[in-house]
């Protein structure tokens, strides 16, 4: 009997934690549907609440948020694609082959995780300016951002995917090679399909990281044709007043792509965590 009631108490505790944890998100949605006058006066919690859906119309007009959203989707989407492909190749190499340079490269991959962005910002900025002058525009371009992000997020992806490849029994490839597959063929036709959960987990992880990048998005882009969501979100802060109602609506919108990505890949993602492959 006592045990049953303890269990019930613990369950209630869980739901209390869920409620407390979700309250800021709930507030974000609530504020995004509130009237501007209530938002600026702090008169938010009212007995009669009528949702102001018009905020979700006005937010696209007040700031051209659609452009920022499109830029983020293109840049982060292609970054995810490239980083996952590059990382899959490199991770397979590190996981399967013993060769001179395997260990030093692994160390280099790890070291990239503790490099502050500030350290390579200016050299990279200067490189981009030089390339601009040489006739290859990099600054304030999609491909300039995608190139940088791909390089930034490839090392972490290599580590995640390496864990998946190590776990695959090598007999599978050996059998494929005996059957006449080339080594690349064995990788593409045998290894990649069974590592699909790992690849999906890695890809969604890269997308989440890229979507969250702020510093380089600020310093390497200058026009709304290329600038990403975090830059656009700030524009609701005006000279005199901040349109918190619209800003919260835009914040809700900018959570949606990552939310969809997470829920779509959740099954594999959690499996990836169980395999100890995804870092926090």
């Amino acid at each position: 009997m006592k045990r049953r009631s303890t269990e019930r108490m613990l369950n209630m505790l869980v739901w209390a934690i869920v409620a407390l944890t979700l309250s800021p998100v709930a507030f974000m949605v609530y504020a995004s549907l509130s009237d501007y006058n209530d938002v600026v006066t702090g008169n938010l919690v009212k007995a009669s609440f009528t949702p102001h859906w018009s905020n979700y119309r006005e937010m696209w007009v007040n700031v051209d948020f659609l452009a920022f959203l499109r830029n983020s989707l293109v840049i982060c989407g292609l970054t995810t694609l490239f980083a996952t492909v590059l990382a899959a190749l490199a991770a397979y190499s590190l996981a399967r082959f013993k060769f001179r340079g395997n260990h030093p490269f692994s160390v280099a991959v790890s070291t990239t995780q503790v490099i502050p962005g500030m350290l390579f910002f200016l050299p990279l900025y200067m490189l981009y300016i030089q390339l601009d002058d040489a006739g290859l525009p990099m600054m304030n371009t999609y491909h300039g951002m995608i190139f940088l992000y791909t390089a930034m997020f490839t090392p972490a992806s290599i580590w995640i995917m390496r864990g998946f490849f190590v776990a695959i029994p090598r007999e599978l490839e050996e059998a494929a090679i005996i059957d006449g597959c080339s080594r690349l063929g064995a990788f593409v036709r045998v290894v990649l399909p069974i590592s699909a959960p790992g690849i999906i987990a890695t890809a969604s992880f890269v997308f989440l990281l890229a979507w969250d990048e702020v510093f380089f998005a600020w310093v390497l882009t200058s026009s709304p044709d290329v600038q990403t969501v975090p830059v656009g979100l700030r524009l609701y802060m005006g000279q005199h007043a901040t349109r918190y109602d619209l800003m919260m609506a835009a914040a809700v919108v900018s959570v949606i792509p990552v939310l969809v990505t997470f829920f779509a890949s959740q099954r594999w993602f959690i499996k990836g965590l169980a395999a100890g492959a995804v870092k926090g």
Binding site: L10, V14, W15, V18, P24, F27, V39, G42, L44, V45, L86, A90, S93, A95, F97, F99, G101, H103, A108, V109, S110, T111, Q113, V114, G117, M118, L119, F120, P123, L124, L127, F147, A151, T154, P155, I158, W159, I160, R170, D212, V214, F215, W218, V229, P230, L233, R234, Y244, M248, V255, L259, F262, I270, L273, A274, G276, A277, V278, K279, G280
Partner: protein, 328 residues
């Protein structure tokens, strides 16, 4: 156990990757070809800029010399001395406060996030109706981008129109007046709490996965021996989770030392000064390098931070290497 397949930074101290192909006499280009694209990217975006960044940290860079870039006057270690110790150096201003905040912030966020993550993982590691739903819902803060965390909480902490003061004062009557959260020493908590809020859910998920891998028989046997819940936690759960906790604590500390987005988004328009108690090293460095065009000093501090973190990681992995391989 799980964490060992994820040596990550562990490779820095010789956690050699387990490549098991038979040694070939003949040179084999295949692994190099697979590696080449990623390696090329890392050379262009990481290696070359870092070598340049190191060089830059010894150049006198300001608005007059910036266009010469690598040709700017060489000043040796003067940038390091200036930015770390010289009170008249513009980039130095506020550095000690930001250093103190960064240290406290990293430790406090890591401690809270790991403790809450572990506690909730234990709560969820039981069978109860709606378990999967609770787990999924609890992950929600983690999918909120950090820049949204900064703007959202920056709004919630507002003194007059913020929801937090409204709840604390008008609804719960816990205080009789509305405090400033974004001014003064309260700022520290204003940046710690949102960071913890976003960080713990993913730790919970990782710990939960690790908990599910602990064999149930161990608990059965301990119960038969008369061990109580606390004893089972200390003697079975904690040792089983140690490798995962060790790795996650390290990642958390690295993430938090380099934390930038939340502070940058919460105060003003990116260049806003978060005040003495809200400033961290990365936001300070970015703000001051850009406003005074002193990128040499910016590179110098970045380099010191990177060196400190590399030493931390090496010492950490060396200390805990045994406890991590024991589980393998």
């Amino acid at each position: 156990m799980t964490a060992v397949s994820e040596p990550g930074l562990g490779a820095l101290v010789g956690g050699a990757s387990r490549a098991s192909a038979p040694r070939r006499r003949k040179f084999d280009a295949f692994p190099y070809l697979l590696l080449a694209p990623a390696a090329l990217m890392m050379v262009i975006v990481n290696l070359v800029p870092i070598v340049q960044g190191f060089r830059m940290s010894m150049l006198k860079l300001n608005q007059y010399t910036l266009s010469q870039f690598m040709g700017a006057p060489f000043v040796g270690l003067r940038n390091y001395r200036g930015v770390l110790f010289d009170a008249t150096n513009p980039v130095h201003a506020g550095m000690l406060g930001a250093l103190r905040n960064t240290a406290l912030y990293s430790l406090l966020v890591t401690l809270c996030a790991v403790a809450i993550g572990l506690g909730v993982a234990l709560l969820l590691n039981r069978d109860f109706p709606g378990k999967a739903a609770a787990r999924t819902l609890l992950m929600l803060p983690w999918v909120v981008p950090t820049y949204v965390v900064g703007t959202l909480w920056g709004f919630m902490w507002q003194r007059d129109e913020g929801i937090i003061n409204h709840v604390l004062v008008d609804v719960l009557h816990l205080m009789d007046h509305k405090p400033f959260w974004l001014i003064g020493s309260n700022t520290f908590f204003a940046i710690v709490i949102p960071t913890v809020w976003r960080a713990w859910p993913v730790l919970m998920l990782i710990f939960l996965a690790a908990l599910q891998a602990v064999p149930e028989e161990l608990y059965e046997a301990a119960r038969l021996d008369g061990a109580n819940a606390w004893q089972r936690f200390v003697n079975i759960t904690l040792p089983a989770l140690k490798p995962v906790i060790v790795i996650q604590v390290m990642f958390q500390i690295i993430d938090n030392v380099y934390s930038y987005n939340i502070v940058a988004m919460m105060f003003g328009k990116g260049a806003g000064y978060p005040g003495e108690w809200g400033d961290l090293l990365m936001p300070l460095l970015t703000r001051q390098s850009f406003s005074y065009w002193r990128f040499g000093e910016g590179a110098a501090v970045s380099f010191v931070m990177m060196a400190v973190m590399l030493v931390f990681v090496a010492v950490w992995m060396r200390t805990f290497r045994r406890s991590m391989t024991d589980e393998a």
